[in-house]
């Protein structure tokens, strides 16, 4: 069984040989540590993810970062430069395509060829493994701000080797967060091991004085996941990463929609992650937070999408997120044009900058929500550690098996899928079917009471239909699904 234990250097090197054989680009000499360390040392500070995050946190800024990636290198570099210049992005991504995410590098190769022929990207991202280190170096060198790989890859070992060797200073993902929402039948034991490797790689760089940022993927399925569940996964992944020697971690959270719940979530995400890292002896990890603009279905209307994007930006800024992943007005339709992507970025940017000096005020309701999240996270982490006999890696595997951790709407067969969420009368995400979540009766009663208030208001039972209504709600211009407005007051 996988354990939360630092991978020995010998073990790492043994695995490494196999990993580098997965695709020809893995054999590049640039992956040798002497070369990659030198490369990473040469990255200027304004293109260094960790350094920029540290300044942002000190200044109380919320940085903007889009999603973006296309099949071909030149086009990708052009895209990123456009987003830096016209979108004023503070940070840049390289979104990896879905074939690469499933390690289907030959499918990706085909698609690259087709994209070249058809002169348009047939991939939904940048196939970094196929393109190899040289191309990734060009991306890093020819773009003016820090670049991060963003994907959804259960086994991102080769990908991570390549991007870091190319000088990219941040990588998103984790053994749970890049499995449960992104895979069907890859075991958690495997994906956790894969990501221990990725984190160990970053740890080795850290031992050589290079601080690479790592970011567990916060929102998971992005679909009505209560904050305590995503927080718990983020904290577990932070601990697993820290054990492998990672020193700079960004934990994430996807906008729920209720402003108080969102701010409470952001605040507790920061405090709980720091608390648990210290509790388990990881003293010197620098923690920042990332807020994801609404991750569920968007409305088709572009102006309305801009409304949601800006509202999300206000919440991120007032909640004190260190960075924010932005959406575009094309979200519901497809991968955005660079212009649409830049529009989302600029709207986001001005809102975060206007609110730069402000924070959401302490209030009773905020405290109550924070207490609730904390209590739930404590319960989930306690039960995870318990079933893992004191080990968070084993604990994560067994907790998902047992349904102690359970993510709504996840595709993975490792996930029980017994939990059913719904919004309460104020739009907070609550739980109506708890499955095997190890919550005490006080917590369960509280959730039920909240949902009952809504049910009463809408004159119907709490049911799966309510959950479905909530899934559709935002794309239809409401947060809480169901309730009809008087005639003349709703969207025509």
């Amino acid at each position: 069984m996988v354990k939360n234990k630092k991978v020995s250097r010998e073990e790492f090197e043994r695995i490494r040989r196999d990993v580098r054989e997965q695709w020809p680009t893995g054999l590049s000499e640039d992956l040798e540590f002497e070369r990659s360390i030198e490369r990473l040392q040469s990255i200027p500070r304004e293109k260094d993810f960790s350094k920029k995050l540290r300044v942002a946190k000190a200044e109380g800024l919320t940085l903007t970062q889009p999603r973006a990636g296309v099949a071909l290198v030149d086009e990708h570099i052009e895209l990123l430069n456009f987003l830096a210049k016209e979108g004023e992005a503070d940070l840049l991504p390289t979104t990896i395509d879905s074939y690469t995410r499933q390690n289907r590098h030959s499918s990706a190769e085909d698609a690259i060829r087709q994209s070249e022929k058809q002169k348009r990207s047939l991939l939904n991202g940048f196939p970094a493994v196929n393109h190899g280190v040289e191309a990734c170096k060009r991306v890093q060198d020819e773009v003016p701000v820090p670049v991060q790989a963003r994907h959804g890859t259960p086994d991102a070992r080769l990908l991570s080797e390549i991007i870091h060797a190319a000088g990219w200073t941040s990588n998103e993902g984790g053994g749970v967060s890049y499995n449960i929402p992104y895979a069907k039948n890859i075991s958690l034991e495997d994906s956790i091991r894969y990501w221990q490797y990725v984190d160990r790689l970053v740890g080795i760089y850290a031992e050589n004085g290079i601080e690479i940022n790592r970011e567990p993927f916060g929102p998971l399925t992005g679909t009505l996941v209560p904050p305590s569940i995503t927080h718990t996964v983020a904290i577990i992944e932070a601990i697993l990463a820290a054990e492998q020697g990672v020193k700079n971690i960004t934990v994430g959270y996807g906008q729920c929609g209720n402003v108080v719940q969102d701010v409470a979530a952001l605040r507790t995400l920061d405090s709980l992650t720091n608390y648990y890292l210290k509790l388990f002896g990881y003293e010197d990890v620098f923690v920042t937070t990332v807020f994801h603009q609404w991750m569920g279905g968007f409305p088709a209307d572009e102006a309305k999408a801009m409304g949601i994007i800006s509202l999300a930006s206000a919440v991120a800024a007032l909640g004190g997120a260190t960075k924010m992943i932005t959406k575009s007005p094309h979200e519901s339709q497809g991968i955005p044009t660079k212009e649409a992507n830049a529009e989302g970025l600029r709207a986001s940017k001005i809102v975060t900058r206007l609110l730069k000096e402000q924070t959401f005020p302490k209030a009773k309701t905020l405290e109550t929500e924070e207490e609730l999240i904390k209590k739930e996270v404590h319960s989930l982490l306690y039960a995870t550690l318990n079933i893992g006999k004191g080990d968070f890696a084993e604990g994560a595997v067994r907790a998902f098996e047992a349904g102690i951790l359970d993510v709504p709407f996840a595709p993975s067969e490792m996930n029980r899928g017994l939990v059913l969420p719904a919004r309460d009368d104020l739009g907070n995400i609550r739980i109506h079917e708890f499955g095997q979540l190890p919550f005490g009766d006080d917590i369960k009663t509280y959730h039920r009471q909240c949902l009952e208030r809504r049910a009463k208001k809408e004159k119907r039972e709490v049911s799966f239909q309510m959950t479905i209504d909530d899934i559709y709600a935002v794309s239809r211009g409401r947060l809480v699904g169901g309730e009809e407005l008087p005639k003349g007051f709703d969207t025509p």
Partner: protein, 135 residues
């Protein structure tokens, strides 16, 4: 009761729509065989053969739909499923494209019905009932 196969094709993991489609089709009286996300053309075809399905509803959200659906009609025919209705929906191409054109492209590929982003599944059920007739 008609049997229909649903699933999400290719390396696509978008599970939410798929789960809702299952729920709605069941509620509306279909026998639903849901092969879930990350399904290949073969998975769809095998499931349709095994369950004697009358329609295959392919979802593709992530943008690779055009590549993943290539020759699917031909492969169905080869497997003796020429009579099975073939639907596709979701965000089936990369980016915001003119839907009329996209629809034409997929119809040419042999799909009987093609749905735009965020299509109302309840409406699709009506069309499915029409196409399949009474069981």
């Amino acid at each position: 009761m008609h049997t229909v196969v649903i699933g999400v094709i290719g390396a696509d993991v978008h599970a939410v729509g798929n789960k809702i489609i299952e729920h709605v089709l069941k509620k509306r009286g279909f026998n639903v065989v849901n092969i879930g996300v990350l399904s290949s053309q073969e998975d769809f075809i095998n499931a349709a053969i095994e369950t004697d399905a009358k329609a295959i509803l392919v979802s593709s959200l992530y943008g690779h739909g055009e590549m993943d659906c290539k020759y699917m009609k031909e492969n169905c025919e080869e497997a003796g499923l020429g009579h099975v209705k073939l639907y596709v929906g979701g965000n089936i191409v990369v980016g915001k494209q003119d839907f009329k054109e996209v629809e034409a492209r997929f119809k040419k590929m042999g799909f009987d019905r093609v749905y735009p982003p965020g299509a109302d599944i309840e409406e699709a059920v009506e069309q499915l009932k029409e196409d399949l007739g009474s069981p």
